[in-house]
Each structure stands twice: as C-alpha cells, then as structure tokens.
Symmetry: C2
Subunit: 219 residues, 2 copies
C-alpha cells in the first residue's frame, strides 16, 4: 500500500485548499487547513448481537462531534441516515442552533452546527465532496474489531499532506457492518489505551481520532 | 517549577502502584498502571455570564468519561456535586449499570461505571485518594481561558512517572471558577486545534486529554 501518493492530481478547486503546507518535525500540521471530512453513519451498523440495523440519531453526537470538527478545522460533518423521520429530526436540531433561538443564545454552538450536512447514504456524501473538490475522497473507516490491515495515525497524517480530500467514517451503535468496512479504502488503527477495554463512545473516539490527526501541538 | 520531583516520597500503598515503569522514547507509558484520577466538578463552575453556579449532572458525561477512564487505566472517576438530589441521581444511574438490569444488558458498561465515585467537594476527593495512597494527590485543573501559567502535556506525562497520585479536574458548564483554578497545583495547557475555536464539550476534552496523557501508541 502506497500512502504517499503523487499530489499532482489534487484538485485546486477543493474549498480552502492551501498548497503551502507547513508541518512540524513529527508530521503534524500547524495553522494549515486540510481536506478532512467526517461522516457519522447510522446505517449499516450492527447491534450488540451483530445484526445489521439502522441506529437512532443521538442529539449529543451531533453537538460533540460538530464542536470537535470546528475546533480542528474539519471541512464538513456529515450525518448519514436513510430514515426520513431521523433526517427531519437532525434538520430540526441543526436549524434550532443555526437559525432559531439557539443561534442567538449560543453563537459559538451555531458556528459548530453549521458544519453539519445530512445525507441518506455514504455514496451521496462522497458525491457531495466530489462536487466541491472535483475528486472523490478516499474513505477511512473506524472499527474497534481486530482482523483488518490498519492505517496508522502517522500514515494517515502523511496521506493528508497530499492535498486530496479524505473522509473519516465513524459508526454508531456497535460499529459499522463488516461489508461496509470491506468497501472502504482504508481501515484506521483502533484507539487503544493501556487497558484491555475498547468500548469508547463514538463521541470520545471521534474527539481522540481528530485530535491525533489534526492537533498542531506535540502531544 | 520543578516537574521531575524526587519519587522517594511516593507511597507504596497506592493501589496497583508499580515501580517498574517502562516508557517509550517519547515518554509515553506502555502496559504500566499509573496513578491518575479524574474528577468532574459541578460546583463551583461558571455560566455563560461568568456567574458561579452549580451545574446539573449530565447522564452522558458519566458514561463517556467512565468509558474513557476504563480504556486508559484511570484509577477512579469522581463525580463532584454538593446537591443531595444530584448525588442521588448519580447513585441511581451508577447502580442501574453496575447492579441493576443495565449490568446484565451490558457488562462492559458495568466495568466502566464501577470506576465512578460520588463526593460533595474536591476536598473530599483529595481525602479519599489520600486514604488509599497515604499521600494527597497533586491537583491539575483544566481551563480553556488564557491567563494562566500552563503545564504542558509532555511535562504532565513526566510528572506521572514519579509514582505519586495526580488528580485531573474537569469543569462542567462554562468551566471551573477562577478562584477554584487559583487553588490548584497546576493548570493544564488548553486543548487547541488549528482553528480559533475552543468550545469542546467536557466529554470530548476529557477523552482528548486522557489520550494525550495515557495512550501507549505514538500519535
């Protein structure tokens, strides 16, 4: 697998794309806007028994991941659900904070939730990014399961340097389905601590992964 | 400020304390249990106008931070509130997941929520840790505000190597009150991304900080 691809194909049309990138000695980026997008997927995911289901949208997932996305310069945060009523719920939450009373009560929350886009499928997310970047994003999925060849955080940071768009895909419930994972370009290394316990919330996992990829401080 | 204190005073009684510590070349710990405790404080914190208030307990704060604490080998996760009804609420939530139906439905959640302790004040937290470690923990508070001399993540990792207990103190609402911060031993560097936006949820900030301090992978 070649992580450091030729960047010549990278589209200059991609929003806010800067080709003058500075990175510190550990490969971290400083004060540079990169083309990382995040998607939170509610189908196809699995429940605790391994059955493929459509999960319900959780309000705090939207807030927490949007705030982390805004903090680290993520381009857009896509909420993916095929259910009409769930899409309507997300639209209602987002409009409350971006246009309604919430926007006046807490303008900082507005800035974060403005990053949210709602799509029915991951394919539609990919198409939406391709429209603004003129190139489809590579998809990088997360899974706490073993059994996949993994992209390390350092190599993902290296990939981001090539100027092309990347889409980090997070699963809700007990995680993305195996067939969905198999269709991705990369499977990211799981977030692990020293303890033998890998049951972080998707909100916590999102925050940690985005920090590992995008923080401009040494950690 | 001397971060690398003499470890001779460190108590051998501290639970699970191991004096044979291994760390990688970046100072990260591998497979070693350290004496880091976490407290989530609901008083004294400030609201958006800067008034000192007592905040309400948020259910998902308990779950998310307990799960991150379990993942990274945190010793205990203290929920601090002086309000009798809020203490009762936390006790009810914790007992549901550690002894009630929740424990049978999701044993992994039980493992995490078993780390939760409830105390009225930070002073009582400090006393509780002193009882098990025979030495009071140093307190490290978090604040997104500017104006404090900051402990870096690298230096905090260095401190943890000395074998003594440390208590990471997180504020809810709009953060810990200034007088509370002034009484702490250290103020940790804020979590910042490349964007000029520092409004992470306390759940996300907790996950990122604990990962930066305790992850055994290079990131």
């Amino acid at each position: 697998m070649e992580y450091f691809e030729d960047s010549a194909e990278a589209s200059l049309k991609c929003q806010n794309l800067s080709l003058t990138r500075k990175s510190d000695k550990r490969g971290r980026f400083s004060k540079v806007s990169l083309n990382l997008y995040v998607a939170l997927v509610h189908y196809p995911v699995v429940n605790k028994n391994g059955d493929v289901i459509t999960s319900a949208v959780t309000n705090l997932d939207l807030h927490d991941i949007a705030r982390a996305a805004k903090t680290y310069g993520i381009k857009s945060f896509y909420v993916v659900t095929p259910l009409v009523d769930q899409k309507a719920l997300v639209e209602k939450i987002v409009s409350h904070w971006t246009e309604g009373l919430g926007a006046r009560y807490n303008p900082k929350r507005r800035e974060a939730l403005e990053l949210i886009r709602i799509e029915e499928t991951l394919q539609k997310v990919v198409e939406d990014i391709r429209k603004s970047c003129s190139v489809s994003p590579k998809t990088v999925v997360t899974s706490a399961k073993n059994g996949f060849r993994r992209l390390s955080y350092g190599n993902f940071r290296g990939l981001l340097k090539n100027g092309k768009p990347y889409l980090l895909v997070l699963g809700t419930a007990w995680g993305l389905s195996d067939s969905f994972i198999a269709g991705a370009d990369y499977v990211l290394a799981p977030v692990k601590g020293p303890a033998d316990y890998n049951h972080l919330s998707v909100r916590s996992a999102a925050a940690i992964i985005i920090d590992r990829l995008m923080a401009d401080e040494t950690c």
